[in-house]
């Protein structure tokens, strides 16, 4: 398991290749990558991501451990950036390795749903017409319900 919280850019190609390398015991690798998206209404200059140092790493580790308890996983990777990002830049990625694809997919979706609403990150959009904190979506909170046993 590898959890990384950093301001620097990272190379999703290199990370994906390194994560998948040499796995003869895992048949399935799933990755998710989040990218800063242009907003149609108002040109986005940047996305600023604030986080809670210390708690962030702790929350991500707990979410990854919970995924490993629920599914037969070989490995989990979480990389999340903070600071100022331009449109098109990679915000974060996760990867899961499992013997079977259903476990790799379910764990990846679980990680994303929890990371969205339970890891202490906050996004602010910087546009030509002003700045604004991104509001949490009801659908992201609702997405957690499907994982309740």
């Amino acid at each position: 398991m590898r959890i990384v919280v950093q301001e620097d850019r990272f190379d999703i190609g290199a990370e994906t290749a390194a994560f998948a390398a040499g796995r003869t015991d895992m048949g399935a690798i799933v990755t998710f990558t989040g990218i800063v998206r242009e907003i149609a209404e108002s040109p986005l200059e940047a996305m600023v991501i604030e986080h809670y140092p210390g708690m962030t790493e702790k929350a991500l580790t707990e979410i990854a451990q919970e995924a490993s308890r629920r599914w037969a996983l070989g490995d989990v990777l979480v990389i999340h950036r903070f600071g100022r990002l331009a449109p098109g830049e990679t915000i974060m990625m996760i990867a899961t390795a499992a013997p079977h694809r259903a476990d790799a997919f379910a764990a990846a979706e679980f990680l994303m749903d929890y990371l969205k609403s339970r890891a202490p990150f906050w996004k602010k959009e910087i546009t030509a017409t002003g700045d604004g904190w991104v509001a949490a979506k009801d659908e992201d909170e609702a997405a957690l319900d499907r994982w309740q046993a």
């Binding site: 989040g34 991501i49 604030e50 986080h51 809670y52 210390g54 708690m55 702790k58 929350a59 999340h80 915000i91 974060m92 994303m112 990371l115 969205k116 609403s117 339970r118 890891a119 202490p120 990150f121 906050w122 996004k123 602010k124 904190w133 991104v134 509001a135 949490a136 909170e141």
Partner: protein, 82 residues
């Protein structure tokens, strides 16, 4: 003495990221009431507690949780990671 941290728009409204507070408040809710009584900027930041989340020693918690033994309290809006 307890460390109180603020993030995102809570931090912006209060105007600082962190402060040390001497308090006798027994719960998070009591601490919030105490802070709201201090100054308008706290009143503004804590106006809608439904829009807020709290972490005690870096674990998400409820507003009715006791503060006994807690070293670090953090207030922030719902998270928007990913």
């Amino acid at each position: 003495m307890i460390d109180v941290l603020y993030f995102a728009w809570v931090r912006e409204r209060i105007g600082l990221p962190k402060e040390r507070i001497e308090t006798q408040a027994e719960t998070v809710a009591a601490l919030v009431e105490e802070l709201k009584g201090r100054e308008a900027r706290y009143e503004l930041a804590f106006a809608d507690s439904d829009a807020l989340r709290v972490a005690l020693d870096q674990e998400l918690s409820g507003f009715d949780a006791p503060l006994a033994g807690v070293r670090e309290v953090a207030f922030f809006p719902p998270m928007t990671g990913g």
